[in-house]
């Protein structure tokens, strides 16, 4: 297996170790290196993100204070948990902001803003998932027609390191004709995306949509018809598998989608490209990493906190009121001020839940670090042992862990 090493600008992906279909590697984006498998926390830079903004920011603002290591969160250094973050262009369309506000927001690239001390990888999605369920990606509030061109403009202005084409996700009920139609619309966007972006400046990921090998193969075939074989094979730095959110509670289907995706990529000669899984996080991560996923994005750390849930592991949460914070030695739970916040002694609810979010994110990042370590042990034993100690001890997850061990890691016997 050859390495896609720094052929284009400073971008590339180098595989370090493999355990079955799982692998560790280094994703180089500009000057930043990201170890994989890894997790991009989803951060909303808009909400509470400008110097004057206090509106709607809430928990997002507290998260950014953690990113910065601001005095208000007691000045701790949390930057290692933000080695890569994802933000969505849809975070703009969601807030119904005005043209003025919009222009102010995209005025300065995120990493160059005075407010932020962030130097990780900035992954900006295309907001395509907003098309799901008859919704639209609507920029009318800020008077922008949202199309591929507009999305790229936003991505560029935000200073994205890693970008996705605008896509049309599929839904479980879509019939064949609908899926092909969506693939063709995505293909048109991909064509434009390649014209309008520069691989020297941005790492480009191609979105894929499908739940199994045949669907993904059909999707790629449609893309190839529009943009030509050479470009499919040469122009992308990675691929991002989307449309999985409706399946998020069905781990069996998720595993099938990701392992089939890996297989399709191998058959199409994309085996060296890193594979990002859009919108899936939490307990599925180790299973999907074991079948060949390289990166994930997570907003579940935030959602759990907003719902009053404190992660005791990647697989378990406790209601915030029941938590014994002394059981966790993460920097949040080791900080008296932040523990008091989490216990409810905070001026703003956002600070209480923000601290819980930060803790939740640390739990997720630590777990994916353990997955990396397990893959890096020689052979498949490390990862099998990892599952033995973790997911396969959970009744609801056991069968999935066994499946992955059997399908991807050589089995138990």
């Amino acid at each position: 297996m050859g390495f896609q090493q720094k052929q284009h600008g400073n971008n590339g992906f180098e595989i370090a170790n493999q355990a079955g279909a799982a692998r560790t590697g280094t994703l180089q984006v500009g000057d930043t290196e990201l170890e994989t498998p890894n997790l991009f926390p989803v951060v909303n830079f808009y909400a509470g993100g400008t110097s004057s903004s206090l509106y709607g920011g809430g928990i997002h603002r507290t998260m950014k204070e953690f990113m910065n290591g601001d005095e208000v969160i007691n000045g701790g250094d949390y930057s290692e948990y933000f080695d890569g973050v994802m933000t969505s262009v849809a975070s703009l369309t969601d807030y119904g902001i005005t043209k003025e506000r919009y222009e102010e927001y995209i005025d300065t690239p995120i990493k160059e803003r005075d407010l932020f001390d962030f130097d990780g990888v900035l992954f900006v999605d295309s907001g395509g998932f907003k098309f799901l369920g008859d919704k639209t990606l609507d920029g009318s509030d800020f008077e922008v027609d949202v199309d591929q061109r507009a999305i790229i403009d936003i991505q560029r202005k935000l200073g994205a390191d890693l970008v996705l084409n605008l896509d049309r996700p599929i839904e479980p009920d879509d019939d064949y004709e609908t899926r092909v139609q969506k693939a063709r619309m995505t293909a048109q966007n991909v064509d434009q995306f390649l014209e309008l972006t520069n691989r020297q400046k941005q790492t480009r990921y191609l979105t894929l949509h499908g739940y199994n090998y045949s669907m993904l193969n059909t999707f790629l075939t449609e893309i190839e018809k529009v943009i030509g074989k050479d470009r499919v094979h040469r122009e992308f730095d990675g691929v991002a598998l989307g449309s999985l959110v409706p399946l998020k509670d069905n781990k069996g289907k998720l595993i099938t989608a990701v392992s089939d995706c890996r297989e399709v990529l191998n058959d199409w000669g994309f085996d060296d490209l890193p594979l990002h899984i859009l919108g899936i996080s939490s307990s599925a991560i180790p299973l999907l990493a074991a079948v060949g996923a390289d990166t994930f994005d997570s907003s579940s750390y935030l959602h759990a906190a907003i719902n009053g849930k404190y992660h005791t592991s990647l697989y378990n949460t406790e209601p915030l009121d029941d938590v014994d914070f002394s059981n966790c030695d993460c920097p949040v739970c080791s900080d008296d001020k932040l523990v008091n916040w989490m216990k409810g002694d905070a001026e703003y609810q956002k600070d209480k839940l923000g601290a819980v979010s930060m803790h939740n994110l640390i739990i997720q990042k630590e777990e994916i670090r353990r997955v990396r370590e397990a893959i890096n042990k020689s052979g498949t034993d490390g990862l099998i042992e990892y599952f033995e100690q973790s997911l396969s001890r959970h009744k609801s997850m056991q069968q999935h862990a066994h499946r992955v061990v059997n399908d991807s890691l050589g089995g138990y016997f």
Binding site: H402, N406, G411, Y412, F413
Partner: protein, 516 residues
């Protein structure tokens, strides 16, 4: 030299209670085998006779024999027969030789390091029941060094009802020994202490004269592996995979730990039949918990429901389970450690059940079932072909074939032409037919009587199309009793039903048979 000894006991009553559990002379053998093994024997011979004075059981081994202290221990009701609590000896904490007291005489003749001891205890059971502690008399003499061993004769063992030695057979004893005693031990898979021991069983001719002495060893062995499916109608039936010995460690929340030593196989019916049997397959397969490497009780609940336990045969040994006096039951089932053991087993078995080989095995089984079904379909096709050859002309056997028959009669030029324009077998008026340019709501049935059997209304129907009329008496009964509250009359010659329920309604009957 001769001395008289009284065993130490202050637990007579307790013992009498426990002893009521021991009813089966086979349990005497089970305990004896364990004792002989612990004495380092490499051979043990057991003879059972059904004498007029009662049953006689003789156990003879070439173990290290007993000295005075061993004998004392052997006859001691209060304690175990084993002196060293740290040893892994099987009888330790068991009830061992106490079971021998349930007899008319116990005679022990044992040689150890050049000394032979002969100990005799008379009427132990009767004495115990009279609350008298039985004594035993020991005589000592010198023998040649190196001729060690023990010979025990138990006379008049008090078998429980239904456990008389006369009901024993070689077959029964072999299977009992392989399932419930050290003869079916899994120790050889796990411990370095294991040594081989041959077991010879002889039953008196008055019990079973169908064969000579039976020879067994002291290890459970699995049928040979066969990973690939076989030939024939049941290709999976000899498939067999071994799951090698594994040690699993268990820890409770309180920090108690235990080790489970598990070994086993999955196999089809033919493979399983190569194992000794212990009743029906349903009574014997699954997951056995064992202590001292001897199976005690099954815990099939550790196999998930969708995996039938019948395919599995695993023995999970754990020294931390506690047994009832007769070793048939586990006593500490409510303990945390027992729960933890079950959880760990459940986890381990879930991995076995996820083994692709097992899935393949189940798949072979399913495929074989399908192919057997296909074969029976094939033979049903052949049967039907024969019926076609045998009959002289077309005869429908269901409603749809009546439709085909009607169409065929049209092709043959029979008039009037009646064409089925619409047929939906799931609705009451199941056909619309065209005759002379008009459409008629129709009910098509194999027999005319079927329409009424299906309790269908008549009001909406213009025609009933049938192959034949069916049972004329059934039609007569309908005329007698009426139908759906109205009067009905069949005029079969005119091909007409007159039905009067409020208003008069005529229904045309078409007999397809008559169009041929």
């Amino acid at each position: 030299m001769s001395t008289t000894k009284t065993p130490q006991v202050n637990e007579v009553n307790e013992f009498l209670e426990i002893a009521s559990d021991f009813e089966d002379p086979l349990e005497v053998i089970r305990e004896s085998l364990s004792n002989s093994y612990d004495a380092g024997a490499t051979e043990v011979e057991i003879t059972i006779r059904d004498r007029p004075i009662g049953s006689e059981i003789v156990i003879e081994d070439n173990g290290e024999g007993m000295d005075y202290a061993d004998l004392e221990s052997f006859f001691d009701l209060g304690n175990s027969t084993k002196r060293d609590p740290s040893s892994d000896a099987i009888g330790y904490k068991g009830h061992g030789t106490k079971i021998f007291y349930k007899s008319e005489e116990v005679l022990v003749n044992t040689s150890k390091e050049g000394t032979n001891l002969r100990a005799q205890m008379e009427q132990p059971w009767e004495k115990l029941n009279n609350r008298v502690m039985p004594e035993y008399e020991v005589r000592e003499r010198s023998v040649k060094e190196g001729n060690s061993g023990t010979h025990i004769r138990i006379t008049g063992f008090k078998s429980g009802r239904g456990f008389s030695p006369s009901s024993l057979t070689y077959n029964k004893i072999e299977h009992y020994l392989k399932w419930k005693t050290l003869a079916g031990s899994t120790a050889h898979y796990f411990t370095d202490d294991y040594h081989e021991m041959d077991v010879y069983i002889t039953l008196g001719d008055e019990i079973d004269d169908t064969q000579g002495t039976l020879k067994l060893n002291n290890k459970l062995e699995f049928p040979d592996e066969q990973i690939e499916p076989g030939e024939g109608n049941f290709p999976e039936s000899r498939m067999c995979k071994h799951y090698p010995p594994r040690e699993l460690t268990v820890e409770t929340d309180d920090g108690d730990t235990a080790t489970i030593e598990i070994v086993g196989m999955i196999g089809g019916k033919d493979a399983r039949n190569e194992l000794p049997t212990y009743g029906k397959h349903s009574a014997q397969f699954g997951i056995w918990l064992a202590k001292d490497y001897i199976k005690v009780e099954r815990v099939n609940e550790v196999i998930s429901h969708d995996n039938e336990f019948l395919h599995f045969f695993f023995v999970a040994n754990c020294q931390d389970i506690e047994l009832s006096a007769n070793r048939e039951k586990i006593r500490n089932k409510s303990s945390a450690i027992y729960q933890a053991i079950k959880e760990e087993l459940s986890h381990y078995l879930s991995k076995i059940a996820s083994d692709p080989w097992f899935k393949d095995y189940l798949n072979q089984r399913r495929k074989a079932k399908l192919s057997r079904r296909a074969k029976s379909q094939q033979s049903s096709v052949e049967d039907r072909e024969k019926q076609i050859h045998d009959r002289e002309r077309f005869v429908p056997s269901n409603d749809a074939e009546v439709v085909l028959g009607l169409e065929r009669s049209n092709r043959n030029g029979v008039l009037p032409e009646i064409v089925v324009e619409d047929y939906d077998p799931d609705v009451e008026v199941n056909a619309l037919v065209r005759q002379d340019g008009s459409l008629y709501a129709s009910s098509i049935h194999h027999k005319l009587t079927d329409h009424f059997g299906a309790d269908k209304p008549l009001e909406a129907v213009d025609k009933i199309i049938c192959w034949s009329y069916g049972d004329p008496d059934e039609l007569s009964e309908l005329e007698r009793h009426g139908y759906h509250g109205g009067d009905i009359a069949f005029d079969l010659n005119a091909g007409r039903i007159e039905y009067q329920n409020g208003r008069k309604h005529n229904i045309h009957i078409v007999s397809v048979e008559q169009r041929f």
